[in-house]
Symmetry: C2
Subunit: 177 residues, 2 copies
Amino acid sequence: MYEVELKVRAGHDRVRERLDGIDAESMGTVTQVDTYYDHPVRAFAETDEALRIRRETDGSDEHTKITYKGPLVDADSKTREELETGVNDGETMASVLESVGFDPAATVEKTRERFGYGEYVVTLDTVEGLGEFVEVETEAEEIDPARAGAVDVLERLGLDPDEGIRTSYLGLLLDDG
Amino acid sequence: MYEVELKVRAGHDRVRERLDGIDAESMGTVTQVDTYYDHPVRAFAETDEALRIRRETDGSDEHTKITYKGPLVDADSKTREELETGVNDGETMASVLESVGFDPAATVEKTRERFGYGEYVVTLDTVEGLGEFVEVETEAEEIDPARAGAVDVLERLGLDPDEGIRTSYLGLLLDDG
């Protein structure tokens, strides 16, 4: 399965109205603190990979996941292979990674409000240090039809697919730095 | 906390009788399949570290853990720092490790019968390709008294602490190979 994702910079108030208009289903809000790690010898910025520990809380429960993101396989839709599994103890997982030579390189913190719309998830992200973004995302075995559908969802929300941002929040933060 | 552990090669039948005699408490039997990984650039055999994924089943439930073992801090008792946490999906965790350059190097498979005796756990291990072993183990903040206690437990089981094996099952298997 591939994660197909389109992202634009957009204020959330107007998009929320549109989501209401198309009867998208609110899926709640979470806070995510992502720590990205540098590989001991591989330059992830050059190989276009990422290794991340994500701590997510919905205000009551906290969950931690470890994620590997492979290089882009489709640049337009930011499609890449993702490997992800939950871990019981985020602090210990972080210590394991640091013990074998991975250094925490950057942290991305955001609140994320999700809406379901058919096969797609629309996400309103407020990213610390960057501002407001809208993402349209789905998982699919075939990239092209999934991407066409995501473009359609963006247009229904009054957003311009041509303004798509291909840079990750991590990349945007590092560019700013 | 340090893991303090003494291990000897010993047939299990006689030790089981002794465990019964000292009223050690049976804690059940599990099967463990351990996969050890080679680091992309660090020679774990030389640095005396290990990174492992352990899949453990008691016949019904399966649990997976990832573990980092640091170098020995006390050679006599095989004491080393351990970092360990549960992961939801062992296959995905293995794929994450392989994606960032860790190669599965060796597998150790064993059945492990545990007994509780005071602060100590006595383990009867039957290791595929190696045979039968007895381990006495505890966790402690101070190494010396924990080690003295482990010696005492071994003697109560009719085993000779001087025959302690400091090589891990992984090491024994690789020596044989």
